[in-house]
């Protein structure tokens, strides 16, 4: 068992490495200018060299993102629960939310900046406003599609709507909640960075903006790699929690004993 697991992870890691190798080769073979698409090796070198400079920016971006993300999750779960439970809320909020999220956040950031000044606050707000929607949608759908049979178990006991939400709706929705977290965390990064590129003196977005006007494309990509890395790191954290919480839903392999 252990063997298979390790082998599988090795495979995956190998494939990921392969992806970067392919990219490297592609650039080398097509003689791609590093102004357009730098080779991963260049990016890594830049990343390592400039890491001390990047570090405070990484911390800044991570902090604003996490803050916005946490708020976004809270808002998303709350809204999702309301929408999933009430038909009126569903009919009212969904159009508004879809409308709101069809709006590019780039257009909204300046408003945040004018209201709250540049820097951390608009970054947090942008992260929040971009990341809560997938959570709302999945929580709402999860609640709306909960099997009535499961709810009946509690209803027959005279449980309140809140009891049912808490004991049936939300647990049932967990796998899709975690799915939406994967989307949400990556969008939270996008939001925070977006806001930083618009108005901020710190953060990866700021670095990338400067680097790009310097035509330092490898540094831009270093910034992108940092973002990707942070996204993946948080994904790994959530995956571990997910494994604990939603193991019941992905029990496929357990049935076949070996």
């Amino acid at each position: 068992m252990f063997g298979i697991d390790v082998r599988q992870k090795a495979w995956s890691a190998g494939l990921i490495v392969l992806f970067f190798l392919a990219w490297e080769l592609f650039c080398l073979m097509t003689g791609m200018s590093d102004l357009v698409l730098p080779r991963p090796s260049q990016v890594f070198v830049t990343l390592v060299q400039r890491f001390p400079v990047l570090w405070p920016h990484i911390v800044q971006t991570l902090a604003t993102t996490m803050f916005g993300f946490v708020l976004g999750v809270a808002l998303g779960v709350a809204l999702g629960a309301i929408i999933g439970v009430s038909k009126t809320a569903y009919d009212t909020c969904y159009p508004l939310l879809i409308g709101f999220s069809s709006i590019p956040k780039v257009a909204v950031v300046p408003i945040f900046v004018l209201w709250f000044g540049s820097g951390t606050v608009p970054a947090v707000l942008t992260a929040l406003s971009i990341c809560f929607f997938p959570i709302v949608v999945n929580i709402a759908t999860g609640l709306a599609t909960t099997e009535p049979e499961l709810e009946d178990v509690l209803k027959a006991l005279g449980a309140s709507k809140l009891d049912i939400l808490w004991n049936v709706g939300l647990p049932r929705t967990m796998p899709f909640f975690f799915a939406s977290l994967k989307v949400a965390i990556s969008y939270a990064f996008v939001g925070a960075v977006l806001s930083e590129t618009v108005a901020s003196n710190r953060g990866i977005g700021n670095v990338m903006m400067t680097a790009s006007s310097n035509f330092n494309v490898p540094l831009v990509f270093a910034g992108l790699f940092v973002l990707a890395g942070l996204g993946v790191a948080l994904y790994v954290v959530f995956s571990l929690i997910e494994g604990q919480v939603t193991g019941w839903a992905t029990r496929k392999n357990d049935v076949i004993a070996t």
């Binding site: 099997e147 049979e149 499961l150 009946d152 178990v153 509690l154 209803k155 027959a156 006991l157 005279g158 449980a159 009891d163 004991n167 049936v168 647990p171 049932r172 967990m174 939603t246 019941w248 839903a249 029990r251 049935v255």
Partner: protein, 327 residues
């Protein structure tokens, strides 16, 4: 007759063992309902057990369905499940509901528990119109729907989490007393050690037994049991009959039991209602007079067999009548 031996054993010799286990268990006031029940039983002479605390006439009405019809769906696709069903169950009665498949037995249970509202007619439970919430109802669904993200133990403890007075103490006691309570029940139904498993790790019959535990754990005053023993072998079934009988005799909850097994109905119920084919109505309502505690051996005696045959004939008539009507 040898068939009854096992059940009889549980009612006599095994008691000491069950009781001892319960008392040895860690929780001090682990007032396991069933264990208590059994204690009470042992201390009283057997013949006195079949007492009727209230005279029949005076018993309050626990459940009353008057002219209840239920139709699922609309228009073309409407399925009439019940048509003008009238049924009155006194407090503390044990009523068995038998009838052909699809005749609306589960629907009656769902009406009583408030999960379905009647299309017409009135359902009065505990003196109020469909007020299941006010009662402590224990319901064993036909399909044992355990919540898949919880262990069996936690599934069984669910009513304690929802229903007062347990609810207030749930956070405090769920790791100690309540858990012991759940495990004691599990042990009673032969699922010792399976409390920490997940529902999909149990066999069909095991799930059904866990389902029964969930219906009992909060000591409800009203039990709605929908074929609770359907997927069990005869012996396990008979054991559980005995346990259920004892429980009823001690606490006198109102029980509404749906079953296809006429022996089961005869063994357990004080009244058997036969339903017609869909749309269901109560065709026959027979009182079962056998003395309690009943034993499995009794189910092979001529009186009992005669009752069974009477019921059988009823059901058969109901079925063929319905089929001719439909055909």
């Amino acid at each position: 007759m040898q068939f009854g031996a096992r059940a009889a054993q549980i009612e006599s010799g095994d008691l000491a063992q069950v009781l001892a286990r319960s008392l040895n268990s860690r929780a001090p006031i682990s007032g396991i309902w069933l264990a208590c029940t059994l204690t009470v039983m042992r201390m009283q002479p057997k013949t006195q057990l079949d007492r009727q605390p209230r005279p029949e006439g005076a018993a309050a009405t626990a459940i009353e369905l008057s002219e209840v019809s239920v139709t699922f769906g609309r228009g073309d696709r409407a399925v009439p499940a019940l048509s003008k069903t009238t049924l009155k169950i006194a407090d503390g009665e044990f009523v068995a509901l038998v009838g052909p498949s699809g005749c609306g037995k589960s629907t009656i249970l769902r009406l009583v528990s408030g999960l379905v509202r009647p299309t017409s007619g009135v359902v009065i439970v505990g003196g109020r119109e469909v007020a299941a919430r006010a009662m402590r109802v224990g319901m064993a669904f036909q399909n044992p729907t355990m919540l898949p993200w919880m262990t069996i133990e936690r599934n069984i403890m669910l009513p304690l989490k929802i229903v007062e007075p347990f609810r207030s103490n749930f956070r405090r006691l769920r790791k100690t007393e309540f858990r012991d309570k759940a495990n004691a029940l599990l042990e009673q139904v032969g699922l010792k050690g399976f409390g920490s498993r997940y529902p999909w790790q149990l066999s069909g019959g095991m799930l059904q037994r866990a389902n029964l535990c969930r219906a009992l754990i909060h000591e409800p005053r009203m039990l709605l049991l929908d074929e609770p023993f359907g997927a069990l072998d005869q012996f396990t079934r008979e054991e559980l009959w005995a346990i259920l009988q004892t429980l009823w005799m001690t606490h006198k909850p109102t029980v509404l039991l749906v079953t296809h097994d006429l022996r089961e109905a005869g063994f357990l119920a004080s009244r058997i209602c036969v339903m017609s084919a869909r749309p269901g109505r109560i065709l026959d309502d027979s009182r079962v007079g056998f003395a309690r505690p009943r034993t499995v051996a009794m189910t092979f005696e001529p009186d009992f067999v005669a009752l069974n045959q009477k019921l059988r004939a009823f059901i058969e008539d109901a079925r063929s009548a319905a089929e001719q009507g439909a055909g």
